[in-house]
């Protein structure tokens, strides 16, 4: 029995031991009981001029495996009776002792509501919403259970300032700076480069992490690889960039929003190296796609208890290089430096990516000149990767803007930390 003693347990360990013991007696074939996922979530929303809204949601899902398919039954509630009903779909009803109330309930940190209300009132904008998000979950398998812990998050959305957003771990030492950055007004008159211009682009202040989230992170997720929908499918072992980049997906970075100690299928968090020295070497898989791709699982993540686990990235991390970002800019006769991205997508039909630049500058003769007006950049996935310059900045920075990642309509928190990188050629749309 895996029975970690967590002071922050919101599920009673003794009850979970009983539950795991009961699950051991569930059928092992036709269908085979795979796992039971139980989750408690709390969301607090604060907006200027509105009442504070709190939402507590508990639910669970039992997963069964047939020879050629999976079946999942999910339902509200984590009480003994709700859980017993869930796991009895294909078996005799489990007799479980009543689940005791949680030793620790999910609550916002003391003072959080006042902190959020002060920010909301300062903006005086009824379109600005600040959310506190936290969750605890357990994965119960036939012989063990694992608690899933992830850091509490703060999400801020404002539709007034050109629709911007922030996602960060609550308590991050730079949270105050990032909130100030959200509310910095955009430049009064920005420069718009000519459409069709092919130009070098420097991604700084963590934006390279968001770039590689789209270009590599999503495209090595097991479901896209397994059915050949990724332009990186079949490129394992290939050199994708000239830059000697090491790219890692690391859920153990608890300072970044995509952190967890155990994925939603009960596998301990481990870093996965996706690129080593610019060579593609890793994939991100859940248990199902790991079998197809023949790699280790560990990235089965659920949007919440209602949804099955699917392969999703956590926190993309690129270590520091040796180049000075200032020197990288100084070496550029003409180009663009991006300091904030507001969105990035990859078109599944053409495999072209579109990057929305929210803030940045024109570089001329090595110096920052005019601020940019919002613009879009595009290029093919593999072409952009091939055009990453070998110089890697010595300034790894987290991205706070684009962590709320949506795939197939389902959002999940993710994070990234990356140094300054330069792409030698991107097209301005």
């Amino acid at each position: 029995m895996t029975s970690p003693s967590h002071s922050s347990a919101v599920f009673d360990p003794a009850w979970l031991d009983d539950l795991a013991d009961g699950c051991r007696r569930l059928p092992g074939s036709h269908p085979r009981f795979e796992d039971l996922f139980l989750e408690r979530r709390l969301e607090i929303r604060v907006a200027a001029g509105s009442e504070v809204a709190s939402c507590r949601v508990d639910g669970g899902a039992a997963r069964w495996r047939f020879p050629s398919r999976w079946a999942i039954h999910a339902a509200t509630g984590v009480s003994s009776s709700a859980v017993a009903e869930l796991v009895s779909r294909y078996a005799d009803r489990l007799e479980l002792p009543p689940s005791p109330p949680p030793a620790v309930d999910l609550n916002p940190p003391p003072g959080w509501v006042d902190w959020a209300r002060e920010i909301a009132e300062r903006t005086a904008d009824h379109n600005t919403v600040i959310r506190f998000l936290t969750r605890r979950a357990v994965v119960v398998r036939r012989d063990s259970w694992r608690q899933v812990t992830s850091p509490p998050l703060v999400r801020l959305e404002s539709r007034n300032i050109g629709s911007t957003a922030l996602l960060a771990v609550w308590g991050h030492p730079r949270l105050g700076d990032w909130i100030r950055a959200v509310f910095e007004p955009p430049p009064a008159r920005g420069w718009s480069p000519s459409p069709g211009l092919q130009t070098p682009v420097i991604f700084t202040e963590g934006t390279a992490g968001a770039l590689l989230h789209e270009l590599v992170g999503h495209l090595v997720e097991g479901d896209l690889i397994a059915n050949g929908r990724s332009p990186l499918a079949g490129l394992g072992g290939a050199n994708l960039t000239e830059a000697a980049i090491d790219l890692t997906d690391d859920p153990r970075r608890t300072d970044l929003p995509g952190a967890f100690d155990c994925d939603d299928e009960g596998i301990s968090a481990k870093a996965v190296t996706l690129m080593r020295g610019g060579r593609l070497c890793g994939l991100l898989c859940d248990r199902e796609t790991a079998e197809v791709c023949e790699v280790a699982p560990g990235r089965g993540r659920r949007a919440d208890w209602r949804h099955p686990p699917v392969p999703r990235l956590s926190n993309l991390v690129i270590p520091a290089g040796s180049a000075s970002p200032a020197a990288m800019e100084a070496d550029l006769s003409h180009g663009i430096v991006v300091t904030r991205l507001s969105g990035a997508t990859v078109d599944p039909v053409s495999s072209r990516t579109v990057l929305r630049v929210e803030r940045g500058f024109e570089i001329r003769n090595g110096r920052r000149r005019r601020p940019l007006a919002p613009l879009e950049l595009t290029g093919g996935v593999t072409e952009i990767l091939a055009a990453i310059d070998p110089d890697v900045g010595d300034d790894p920075s987290p991205d706070w803007r684009l962590g709320w990642c949506v795939k197939d309509g389902l959002p999940l928190p993710t994070g990234s930390e990356a140094p300054t990188l330069m792409v030698r050629r991107l097209e301005v749309l």
Binding site: C55, R69, T76, H307, V349, R352, R356
Partner: protein, 452 residues
């Protein structure tokens, strides 16, 4: 095997939850309160290459409680319909109450609109059946150039009840269905993905759905061609829906000093050309969000937002309507018990009564760029009056396809774009957007700058 929740069980469960909350609220200090309870049962069936890959059955329920004690307002939502959920929801709403005016509409504004009964939940096996039919229809209409890869069919039934301290109550139940379709295109490595709203599962027509998907997906097989300059544009309904979603905040009530709408109007007071009329239609039984009342009890209605280019009414929940001096018209949206009723359109749609058939629109220009699908969310800077639309499209020369333009950006003056809408199609389709459900049709826009 145990018995599980059936659609027929839901109303009784909801009533018990409402009674449990109401009992607790009646004994407290709340001067006014409102309880919203919702329960849903959803089946999700995923098939890959015709083979059943995964089934997911979700039963979800919960309550949302709003209170006002004369000086402070609170809202809390809790999953579950049992006594402990009711107790917790009431306690949390009280604990989180903060100084503020009564956010709930007065009883005199509450009322119900008769809504025709909806379709029945499809029988088990329906998802596999329609997927099989769709696979055949897609292969047939494309002469084998398209192949159905993956489908995720969602069928669900939900029921909700809303009750206030004044013993006013409303209830509603409905079946909903939708389908995510992924199609493989021969000669191209990528996939074509489309979401289909199914208003009535019994009348699902595989051939029509196959044509809707295939007609666009096949166009991406043409050789690449690019162009720029001033050109007529034809926006497929999916692209139109994104554009309408981007401008939908214009129709929300807001303070005068932050209202971007006046700055976007032309000298004639019009936001768009005569061809465009927009409504938020909450009484259309074929739309995705249907009910007898809005999210806080005002009767469901069709609210005219833009009439032949001229702005008419704004959408607001009761609290925002009062705050921004608008007439309350039932503009609250509450899709889940988790959310308090917020201002927003439920079913923003184009009126197509005076529209043209999509085929006529496609032949209404000698040379046009037909925008097939958005590649990123369409953005509109409403303060500065600009927009940016990134899409893939095909160039049409005298109704013949000249080539596929994989990534094209349109940007510039939002007012100019809207005022050059020459005609709307009759091919209304519903789409999910970042601003809710939008029913859009093909739009013909004259002489817009095309770059890249």
């Amino acid at each position: 095997m145990p018995s599980h929740s059936r659609p027929d069980d839901l109303p009784a469960k909801l009533s018990r939850a409402i009674e449990a909350c109401g009992g607790r609220l009646s004994t407290g200090e709340a001067k006014r309160w409102e309880v919203f309870a919702k329960s849903s049962l959803t089946r999700e069936t995923e098939l890959i290459d015709g083979r059943l890959r995964r089934t997911v059955q979700i039963e979800e329920s919960g309550v949302g409680v709003r209170i006002w004690d004369g000086a402070r307002a609170g809202f809390a939502a809790i999953s579950g319909l049992d006594g402990s959920a009711a107790r917790s929801a009431v306690a949390a709403a009280r604990a989180g109450a903060a100084p503020g005016p009564d956010p709930m509409p007065p009883q005199r504004l509450l009322g119900l609109t008769a809504i025709p009964p909806g379709p029945r939940m499809p029988p088990r096996g329906w998802a596999q059946h329609v997927t099989g039919e769709l696979a055949i229809a897609i292969a047939s209409m494309s002469n084998g150039s398209l192949r159905l890869g993956r489908t995720v069919v969602q069928e669900g039934h939900y029921a909700w009840q809303l009750c206030t301290a004044d013993d006013w109550s409303a209830d509603h139940h409905r079946t909903v269905a939708s389908m995510l379709v992924e199609v493989l295109i021969s000669d191209r490595p990528g996939i074509w993905r489309e979401w289909i709203h199914i208003a009535d599962p019994e009348s699902f027509a595989a051939e029509a759905v196959a044509a809707r998907i295939g007609n666009r997906a096949l166009l991406t097989r043409h050789r690449i061609a690019t162009d720029q300059g001033l050109h007529d544009l034809i926006l497929h309904p999916e692209v139109s829906s994104q554009l309408l979603a981007a401008i939908s905040p214009l129709f929300l009530a807001c303070p005068d000093d932050r209202d971007p709408l006046p700055g976007l109007l032309g000298p004639d007071g019009l936001l768009s050309a005569y061809a465009l009329t927009l409504v938020d239609d909450r009484s259309d039984p074929m739309a995705p969000v249907v009910g007898p009342c809005d999210g806080e009890g005002l009767p469901a209605r069709r609210t005219l937002l833009l009439e032949e280019g001229a702005p008419r009414h704004r959408i607001a929940n009761f609290a925002d309507a009062r705050r921004f001096d608008e007439t309350p018209r039932g503009g609250a949206v509450r899709l889940s018990y988790r959310d308090r009723p917020s201002s927003g359109p439920a079913n923003l749609r184009v009126l197509t009564d005076d529209g043209m058939a999509a085929g006529e629109l496609l032949s209404a220009s000698d040379r046009a760029l037909y925008l097939l699908r958005p590649l990123a969310t369409v953005t509109a800077d409403l303060g500065n009056g600009t927009y940016s639309l990134i899409a893939s499209g095909v160039w049409l020369d005298r109704q013949r396809v000249r080539g596929w333009h994989p990534v094209v950006e349109l940007s510039g003056s939002l007012g100019t774009l809207l005022r050059r809408i020459d005609a709307v199609g009759t091919d209304l389709c519903w789409f999910q957007t970042a601003h809710g459900f939008v029913g859009a049709s093909t739009l013909l826009v004259r002489q817009q700058p095309v770059v890249g």
